[in-house]
């Protein structure tokens, strides 16, 4: 284990290094802080941090991280200094142990922006709204509490989270989504549009709102112009439980944005400059500068992270060039230039199986003010290309089949990097298998047949039992609950591609169950794919400033790699919504005909009519009699004397034709003149 803390401000002295080393070692062997930062028993605290990271496709990731902590509420009654009261009331009322709510627009590009780091696996969320919560209430009250919670959150964040109230919209994952007790509920609204009206209440929870500090950077147009933005609210509360955790509530608010720096168009046209990363500064990507910290914040830092791949690439370039690392700091003299001198530089502890180690520059913004605003700029000196570290398997999901009757869902897992060593570790670390957890919720109108599950590993069909270690399926109930599938798959280590397909029938909805814009189709929420063998953790050498930063301590947590698949759009049969009118008309006609003839039959007495006819037969033929009666009725005159039967039929038919023709002509004339 090599620990190499680099303090930029310090004069490189061997003795100092040694001291720090000793400090670190002692720090590491003390039990590592289990959760976030320590909560002062008495005081509420607030931290604000911003992480910036250049991305391989000429974009910049900005990750805001705000953390408020409150001690357990009995210490100072109902009142709070910094902590938002709405949240603490929420926690108390619904007995929330842990909760996460995220609003996302756009897709996280797992291939380009990485899938292995803490940000991508805990902050890359599916489009729309995702909400899960763990409650500390008895089993039978969980559903009721969840329903109340959705309504409260809906009001709090101006979003239609209350649609998650319906039991067809949420599910209770057993183990695949989070290793939690049975009190977890999980719901997703893929179609929820995210807008400023969701951001404003979220910002209101911050003590400085967006008036001061890092949150002042949140220029709405530039945030909503971004390629991906996800605002997230994570809530953890601990009563003074037996685990020894500090009691209190931790509210963690993050906003993750992927922005395109405004680069000149010329860089696209000249092919030679294609690989040059755009230079950017805070003011160029947000249009604002940081004019000092939020005075209520305990610490207020900006970090610039260079990814492992980028660092490795820069080192390679440097070694080709001058080659004196020792004299200068790492950050200068390489391929880029920073406009502000960083206060500290951390390098990640190099884990054995990874290719490089990521570097973190810390900028404390305590010393900046209105007159001297903080505006970090990054200028690239020469072209550099790198790639982010992808997730062990790239997961994609798509629909198969066509038509309105049936289809299939396919989840395709592809090994991202064949020559990467990361997959090779699975044999050494964890037996000989490579574990993948799949959690998928399917709405009830997509009737999945779970027995049709087919698995293909490396292009070969596999028996389900060979690959699946555990599977938990709760089939959907029509209009009651969605179908939930949780699976643990064990793949051989040399897996290159794996596919699983599930067939489904498309159901029919009642006419008033269709949402507005029903012809768009219906969404199947994202599936969550996690890789429990792989952990995202950026371990920075234990330094007091690292411990203090809640974001960095969050990064150090050992979380499994998690990625979400795409949302799917299933076209279902939709009725023509003007149809009810037609249906009503045609049913009325049918009923009228039916009942009319039925009454006719019931009313009629055959014998009597026969007798009547026979008595009449002497005078007139029945047909001409009927017709003359009809004509009499039409004219409103009394019945004429019966005509002679001999010439009647031919005459009548021609007359009838004439009449029909006359009526038709009248109708046409009416139509044209008055219609």
């Amino acid at each position: 284990m090599s620990i190499r803390p680099i303090d930029a401000m310090a004069i490189p002295l061997k003795s100092a290094h040694f001291l720090i080393f000793l400090l670190l070692v002692s720090n590491i062997f003390t039990p590592i802080i289990s959760l976030g930062s320590t909560i002062d028993q008495e005081r509420e605290e607030f931290y604000e941090e911003l992480l910036l990271r250049p991305l391989p496709d000429r974009k910049v990731l900005a990750h805001f991280h705000f953390q408020s902590t409150a001690p357990s509420s009995n210490s100072n009654g109902r009142h709070h200094h910094l902590f938002p009261k709405a949240i603490s009331q929420l926690v108390q009322k619904f007995q929330i142990k842990e909760m996460e709510l995220s609003f996302t627009q756009g897709r996280w590009n797992y291939e380009l922006w990485g899938g292995f780091d803490p940000i991508s696996s805990s902050n890359a969320k599916p489009p729309g709204v995702e909400l899960w919560a763990v409650f500390d209430v008895p089993q039978d009250q969980v559903d009721a509490t969840w329903k109340n919670l959705t309504h409260t959150l809906s009001g709090l964040f101006c979003a239609s989270i209350n649609f998650l109230e319906s039991s067809t919209m949420y599910s209770a994952p057993q183990w695949s989504f989070r290793p939690a007790t049975g009190n977890i509920r999980y719901g997703m609204l893929p179609r929820e549009a995210v807008c400023t009206e969701n951001l404003t209440p979220w910002l209101k929870l911050l003590p400085c709102r967006d008036k001061d500090g890092l949150s002042a950077l949140m220029d709405r147009p530039s945030i909503y112009k971004s390629f991906y933005h996800s605002q997230r609210l994570h809530l953890t509360s601990n009563k003074s439980g037996p685990e020894g955790m500090n009691p209190g509530i931790i509210l963690e608010q993050t906003l993750t944005v992927v922005l395109q720096p405004n680069s000149q168009r010329t860089s696209v046209t000249y092919s030679g400059e294609k690989n040059v990363q755009p230079s950017w500064s805070l003011s160029s990507i947000f249009g604002r500068k940081v004019s000092g910290r939020c005075v209520l914040a305990k610490s207020s830092n900006v970090y610039l992270q260079l990814e492992r791949g980028l660092v490795a690439e820069l080192k390679k370039n440097k070694n080709n060039g001058v080659g004196n690392i020792a004299s200068e700091g790492f950050w200068s003299g390489t391929g880029f230039e920073l406009s502000v001198r960083p206060d500290k530089v951390f390098e990640e502890e190099n884990s054995s199986h990874r290719r490089g180690s990521s570097v973190l520059f810390e900028f404390s913004i305590d010393k900046y003010s209105d007159s001297q605003p903080f505006d970090l700029g990054l200028k690239w000196k020469f072209p550099v290309t790198w790639s982010s570290e992808p997730a062990p398997l790239h997961a994609s999901r798509f629909l198969m089949g066509s038509g309105n009757e049936r289809g299939a869902i396919a989840i395709l897992l592809k090994s991202a990097d064949l020559n990467d060593a990361s997959l090779g570790t699975c044999s050494s670390s964890n037996g000989y298998k490579f574990r993948v957890d799949v959690f998928q919720v399917v709405p009830w109108y997509v009737k999945v047949y779970y027995h049709t599950l087919q698995l293909f590993v490396n292009g070969q069909p596999k028996a389900v039992g060979d690959v699946i270690e555990t599977i938990h399926v709760s089939p959907s109930k029509d209009k009651i609950s969605p179908g939930v599938m949780e699976m643990v798959l064990q793949f051989p280590c040399d897996v290159k591609s794996a596919a699983l397909t599930l067939e489904f029938d498309k159901g029919f909805l009642h006419i008033d169950e269709y949402p507005p814009d029903a012809n768009q189709g219906f969404d199947i929420p994202s599936a969550a794919i996690s890789f429990p063998n792989f952990y995202t953790s950026l371990l920075f050498p234990g330094n007091c400033s690292v411990d203090k930063s809640p974001m960095l301590s969050k990064f150090q947590e050992k979380n499994p790699v998690l990625s979400y698949t795409e949302v799917l759009l299933v076209p279902l049969t939709t009725p023509d919504f003007s149809m009810p009118y037609n249906v009503i008309t045609i049913t009325c006609t049918v009923f009228a005909l039916y009942f009319g003839s039925l009454l006719n039959v019931l009313r009629r007495r055959v014998d009597e009519e026969e007798r009547l006819l026979k008595s009449k037969a002497g005078k007139t033929t029945p047909l001409s009699g009927l017709l003359s009666k009809l004509s009499a009725k039409l004219r409103g005159r009394p019945q004429e004397t019966p005509q002679s039967p001999s010439n009647s039929s031919s005459l009548i038919s021609s007359k009838l034709l004439l009449k029909v023709f006359l009526v038709a002509v009248l109708a046409v004339a009416w139509q044209y003149y008055f219609g």
Binding site: D57, G106, S226, T385, F456, G459, D517, L569, P571, L623
Partner: protein, 716 residues
């Protein structure tokens, strides 16, 4: 006497009014059928007059509401691509692969995800059971060779803020290797739009650009891609990549060659559910006065895309880009005197009507009428064929609305400034259409799916054109019923005939006996229909003989068909030597059942493919209604019977499918290019494209024609 009269009157004592109306119509079936048929034909000819102007039904589309963003910069980029493509040495063997590499590089430079799709062109098989299972899932020939595969290049732009649930597809067929300048023009239009779309922020749906390798046919490559998109086979995933074909492997550009922002993957590039597809082609057929845009919309079995898609293309092309829009029509240069006369008549009628009441908007100019009629006729014909008129047909099989846009420049593309202007116009049109579809929240559903076009901006909806068909087929059940009644000597009481009353008991027995007489006629009709099925399946055996020429195949098919008819007669008993043949009503009964069969067949076909049913009704209805044994007419030798004989012969001759085909071909292409094999080729294309028209011809038209001929030759 009084007693017998009451006896006679008791059965007709209680006819309900509706029954009486039916009886009345049946008893006047001759008049009714003449009136209905005339009205049907007239209604068909009136359709261009009744056509309504198209309108954009879906409000969300908002075509042309945003100004176009496509600039000369994008055109310059596209020209750079074209120059690089044309500088390739086309003589080289791997020129196709090279140009694919260039295209992939350009696409990935724009930030698009690029992937290749390899496919094997399917062999031309006769699948008698695959007629209605349109997307045939993964029928891959086992013994394909390495040399014969095509490679589609697919580029996908992910919408920056979209959720990726939907996609719009842009297809440019391109023949790698043997490409001409016009195909390259279509590439440059598509590329300029693609490069614009990679920068814009308003995209809500992903954009897929498919460069379809058209060396095995434009439709085939697109269909293969769609098949793999919708029904991929996971087992073949690795085997296709680890193909024995070496030259395929060097296609994939190694990673270090590619630039960072785009990536070239070896997987199958996917986006979400397809919302719409546009196929873009540029032809060198020089328009006379302006850049011309031709719209092709007919997919398999006469399915049409939503009318809104055609509307927005037409609207943008006419009102924004000033293109001359047309939809395909035949005999545009053929002058038909009677059509002109008809048009003038309608024009005159319209004028008269307007002079009576200025609100009556009836009648169109004669030139418009002729134009509309020819367009309508071609629209009907191509729908009736059931063969897609372009690569867009493959999309319709997966319920994706798609059309083919064929743009032809006014002058040949040598003048650089002129060419750039053409590219700008075409590109802006495509951009506008994509932007409009991009606005769409729901899939296309507002406007019509069942319609006929009489001009790019005029249409006849299903409610109107059904009238013509309904009038044509309406007399069929009436005539069948009246023939049945005549043959059974049933008296509905409307006829004033003086029959001597027979013994009641024997009369009843006679009636029950005669009322089952139709069974033998039905058996005969059934046998002939079975023969039709056999004729339908014969090409399966004939096409096993690979080296037969079309003419040989056709002749052998006719021969085999006749042989099978003979064998069937021998086995199941010839209707010519029937026990009832001496009876007078026998042919009437046969005609009645035949007409019923035609009626049922036409109605069924009108559900599957309306245009086929309409054309079939035009041919079959007059013939089947006229059909009468020739012998008594010849014996009568009066003017009327002579006229009837001539009519029967002409109609019977015209309705024979090969004769109809050759006659139409002779009219449109001149009498000298008639070849016997053409009919075989035509039919082969029908079954190769799984057209329901083929089934119609084999199972309805041909048997009914044989039955009618049988009635004509009846010896009574």
């Amino acid at each position: 006497m009084a007693k017998t009269e009451t006896e006679k009157e008791t059965p007709k004592m209680k006819p309900r009014p509706i029954v009486r109306l039916g009886i009345f119509l049946i008893s006047h079936s001759f008049l009714v059928s003449v009136v209905c048929c005339t009205a049907g034909v007239l209604a068909l000819l009136l359709l261009p007059v009744l056509a309504k102007n198209t309108y954009i039904s879906e409000n969300a589309l908002m075509p042309g509401s945003a100004s176009s963003l496509l600039s000369n910069h994008d055109i310059a980029e596209a020209n750079r691509l074209v120059n690089e493509l044309s500088s390739l040495n086309l003589e080289r063997k791997d020129a196709g692969i090279e140009s694919q590499k260039i295209l992939a590089r350009y696409m990935s430079d724009l930030g698009a995800e690029v992937s290749y799709h390899k496919f094997h062109p399917p062999q031309n098989h006769f699948h008698p059971l695959h007629f209605f299972s349109s997307p045939h899932s993964g029928i891959i020939g086992e013994n394909f060779s390495c040399s014969s595969y095509g490679v589609n290049t697919v580029g996908i732009i992910r919408s920056p803020r979209g959720d990726g649930k939907e996609a719009i597809v842009l297809v440019t067929p391109y023949n790698f290797g043997r490409s001409d300048s016009s195909e390259t023009l279509s590439l440059s239009i598509a590329y300029s739009v693609f490069s614009l779309l990679s920068r814009v922020t308003w995209l809500a749906k992903d954009i897929i650009w498919l460069i379809a390798d058209s060396q095995y046919g434009e439709h085939e490559s697109v269909a293969a891609w769609l098949r793999d998109y919708h029904t991929p086979s996971f087992t073949g995933l690795v085997s296709l990549n680890a193909d024995a074909c070496v030259e395929g492997n060097n296609l994939y550009i190694s990673k270090d060659n590619s630039v960072v922002q785009g990536k070239i993957s070896d997987g199958f590039g996917r986006a979400g559910t397809m919302a719409a597809a546009l196929v873009l082609k540029v032809t060198d057929r020089n328009g006379l006065w302006d850049d011309t845009l031709s719209i092709y919309a007919e997919a398999s079995n006469g399915q049409m895309p939503n009318l809104d898609l055609i509307n927005i293309v037409n609207y943008l092309a006419v009102h924004r880009q000033g293109l001359h829009v047309q939809i395909q029509k035949f005999w545009s240069d053929l002058d038909l005197k009677w059509l002109e006369f008809l048009g003038k008549t309608f024009e005159l009628l319209g004028k008269v009507a307007r002079s009576l009441n200025p609100n009556w908007k009836f009648g169109i100019p004669a030139s418009d009428y002729i134009e509309g009629t020819t367009t309508l006729a071609s629209s009907l014909y191509y729908q009736a064929l059931g063969i897609p008129t372009g690569p867009h047909g493959a999309f319709r099989d997966f319920q994706v609305d798609a059309i083919t846009l064929e743009i032809s420049p006014r002058v040949s593309s040598n003048n650089k400034a002129r060419r750039n202007e053409f590219l700008l116009r075409g590109g802006r049109l495509i951009e506008g259409v994509i932007r409009s579809v991009n606005n769409l929240l729901e899939k296309f559903h507002q406007s019509f799916f069942l319609y006929l076009l009489t001009s790019p901006s005029k249409f006849v909806s299903v409610g109107v054109y059904m009238i013509a068909f309904a009038l044509l087929v309406a007399p069929l059940p009436l005539v069948a019923a009246s023939l049945y009644a005549d043959a059974n000597e049933l008296d509905f009481g409307m006829k004033n005939d003086k029959y001597t009353p027979m013994d009641t008991a024997s009369n009843e027995i006679n009636i029950t006996f005669r009322s089952w007489k139709w069974l033998s006629a039905a058996k005969e009709v059934f046998v002939v229909h079975i023969w039709g099925v056999i004729v339908l399946l014969l090409p399966y055996f004939i096409c096993q003989m690979r080296d037969w020429s079309p003419t040989t195949s056709f002749v052998s098919w006719v021969f085999l068909a006749m042989l099978s008819l003979l064998i069937l007669y021998l086995i199941l008993g010839s209707p010519f030597s029937h026990g009832y043949s001496l009876e007078k009503g026998e042919w009437a009964m046969l005609k009645s059942v035949t007409i019923s069969a035609i009626f049922i067949g036409l109605l069924l076909m009108s559900v599957v493919n309306f245009a086929t049913a309409e054309i079939g009704a035009l041919l079959m209805v007059p013939m089947s209604l006229m059909a009468q044994p020739l012998k008594p007419d010849i014996r009568a030798a009066s003017l009327r019977s002579f006229f009837r004989v001539i009519c029967n012969l002409v109609l019977g001759f015209v309705a024979f499918p090969p004769v109809t085909f050759f006659m139409l071909k002779g009219i449109f292409e001149g009498p000298d290019c008639i070849n016997l094999g053409d009919f075989w080729n035509w039919l082969e294309s029908l079954w190769a494209w799984n057209s329901a028209t083929y089934i119609y011809i084999g199972m309805v038209h041909l048997p009914c024609w044989v039955l009618c001929i049988h009635i004509l030759l009846h010896s009574c």
